[in-house]
Amino acid sequence: MSDPRDHALFARYLDGLATEAEGAELGRRLAADPACARAFAEASRLDASLGAHFRQEKGQSDVRAVLQRIQAGRTRRRIALFAATAAAALLIVLTPALWLRPAAPPVEVLAGNVVADGAEVTRIAYGVRFIVPGSGQAPLTLGDGSGASLDGGTAAAIHGPSGPLRQAVELFSGGGDFRVLKDTGRFEVRTPVGLVTVLGTEFTVRLRPRKPTDGRGDEAMRAKGMLLAVAVLTGAVQVQVGERAVVLGVGQSQVFAGDEERGPRTSRIGGELAAVGADSITIVQRGERGETTKTLAVDAQTKVVIESDQTEQVKGERGEPTYRVKLVDGTLGDLKVGRRVTVTCTEDGKATLIVLHRAKPRREGGEGEGERTPRVEKPRREGGDREGEKPRREGGEGDREGEPRREKVRTEGGDREGEARPDKPRREGGDREGEKPRREGGEGDREGEPRREKVRTEGGDREGEARPDKPRREGGEGEREKPRREGGDSEGEGKPRVEKPRREGGDSEGEARPDKPRREGGEGERAPKPRVTPGILVGVKADSIVVRVGERGEQTLTFAVDAATEVAIEGVRLEGGGEGADPIKRPALIKGSLGDLKAGQRVSVQATADGKALKIFIHRSQAPKREGEGERKHFRPPDGGERKPPREGGDRKPPREGEAKPPREGGDAKPPVVDRGAEF
């Protein structure tokens, strides 16, 4: 019996309630402790068995029906047929095949109820939509002599010969068993998901809602998307789903997913409008790899929405208040060159949704476009670690297709949430372990601006070089209310700086850094703010912690802690996963305690000027260890080369014999392969 806490973790994970931090913790526990992994396997088996058991109970009547029919000799096939039917069961489909006698055309209803045009019918004309009400099957003889036994709840229409086509069954919902006579001409079963073409065979076709629904009608199916299950008892069929064609042979079955739910594959592009035409727009993306231009087609179907200056409070999935930029409908006429947009487009380059972002807030004398963005909801302070504030993630993880990220508008630093950033490729390892949480409001994180990799520590003169040992200037320029923009304020290009440059945390007058524009923040006297120091926890004592700061960890700081020191653990919780939709990862802060502090954690310490820690934020990612401290290597090679992500799980046991080593987390390495005699 493993730790009860493990079981609680298993349960939360299996019930879809685990936060990302809990998921990560579970992952670590499973990898590190075989006993825990075995207990997890048992818990997973029980969970799956319960699902199978209850579903089986629900569908047992179908199985009984099959057995009864086989026993009653209503089918000519014996074991082979059962085996083939079992193949169908593997992929959800499980119904008997009926043998039907040919009858006169067009379509004869041999038994059961069939309703067309509101009346029960015994013959069905071609092209007429009909339904099979109730739960029983309705065996039909089609015009070409083939048979179909349609399930209760099926809506269909049957079409007669046309060119090379001799018979077609158009299935709107439901399904049935088909026995197609060998003859010249094609026999088709058309479904919203795909087309099944046969020459002479016996097979079943079922349309299933992708997700459980209360209704069985086609409306419910359309709403939820469909699955097409095809099982072949004899002969062969070809199933065409989109551009993909699959041939299924005897005993084979497969379920195909419809595209309705997912819609066509789309991608999002963010950038600046370089040209706006009647039927196309051109977007310039400026990123770390330079500038790229994309032209996308637009038409009347292209939806345009505009970020308004207002925000709205909506309820999150757990009822928590969430703020987002209010979007208002716009038109193609609202698109103006120079404006920043995020465009959802199809693979063939057609824009389906254009989100017109607000103009950048003006800074320092109004270089912006004049639309000053109001401060809304929880402005970030330096370090961005205000309690309750969601840490920013990079790359829009968990963003739904077609929806811009717009939760919580952050105006300072120009790094507004809500700005979808599809143009920036996700960094390997980003959003997962190893990713650095964002700090400092607005590190050049706008469309087209490269994002600084380095973490700036408070008090440092240079990026990544903290200077925490120097006393802060108390009540200095009062600018610490505002986050310092790093990476340049692109809107201020070419503009003289109005205020004298300030050296962040530095004492020496005259050591200004003119290349670092400072945001307008007023020179008023303000109370000293606690500063936030990001770093790596290297020591934890009862009354103090030691934090290594700086990109290279060249300095350490000691902060006093006491019972009043708050601890918050950064995590991400998954929402909405498991019920059809891809889970959405949302940042979350979990209240922790001093006991949660462990050496090696990446933390941000909010402390008073005299070194007393007020709040400690434990970040998700593990800190890279310095050379000589463990298996992990530092982020930056000594030669100053490109930073590589840390190897995740570096302290785990080596893989078993015959197994490849796991790839670097988020790296380009191929995944490990379990060699059990199968190819992929």
Partner: protein, 174 residues
């Protein structure tokens, strides 16, 4: 393995366990169904490569693990919470705790029958109707935490009951 019928029976016999393995790693219903179908297809297509002298379940799980690793590698948004080393650890754990098939299912049925009706109803909401815990809570007018705790207690009781029953069966067999 040339005998397709026998292979099919093996596949069916191991389906639940294979689903359990995939489901333990992928909680998103659609994604795990997709992976299961890919795996089932891969197994079917590679039936010839299966060595009947080796446990089918382990082979199938190996194929599944590779599929998952592959998907995870190809699609960074693939909804899986675990890194590769955890996937391999879970694979190993499943191999070491190979399900015992029918006797286990029988034990589960027996233990489910012992549960109070209310508990069975709760499980039915969760597993038969496939509701999320939140939805179960709404249906039963409980808080999310209460529904979650109730489900936890029921499952722990079931796991304990199954363990005891299997142990008793083994004792009886001796």
């Amino acid at each position: 393995m040339a005998d397709r019928d026998a292979f099919l029976m093996l596949l069916l016999k191991n389906e639940a366990d294979l689903r359990a393995f995939i489901g333990s790693l992928i909680r998103d219903r659609d994604a795990r169904e997709d992976v299961f179908q890919e795996v089932a297809l891969a197994l079917w297509q590679q039936a010839e490569r299966y060595d009947p002298s080796r446990p089918f379940g382990a082979w199938a799980r190996g194929v599944a693990a590779n599929k998952i690793l592959q998907r995870r590698h190809q699609d960074k948004r693939f909804p899986i919470a675990f890194p590769p080393e955890t996937i391999l650890a879970v694979l190993d754990a499943f191999d070491r705790t190979e399900a015992e098939g029918p006797s286990r299912l029988e034990a589960l049925r027996h233990c489910l029958a012992q549960l109070p009706e209310k508990a069975r109803q709760l499980l039915a909401l969760r597993y038969e109707q496939g509701l999320a815990v939140k939805e179960v809570a709404e249906r039963t007018r409980h808080t999310l935490d209460a529904a979650y705790q109730a489900l936890c207690r029921i499952r722990l009781a079931l796991a304990d009951c199954i363990r005891r029953r299997l142990a008793a069966q083994q004792e009886g067999a001796r």
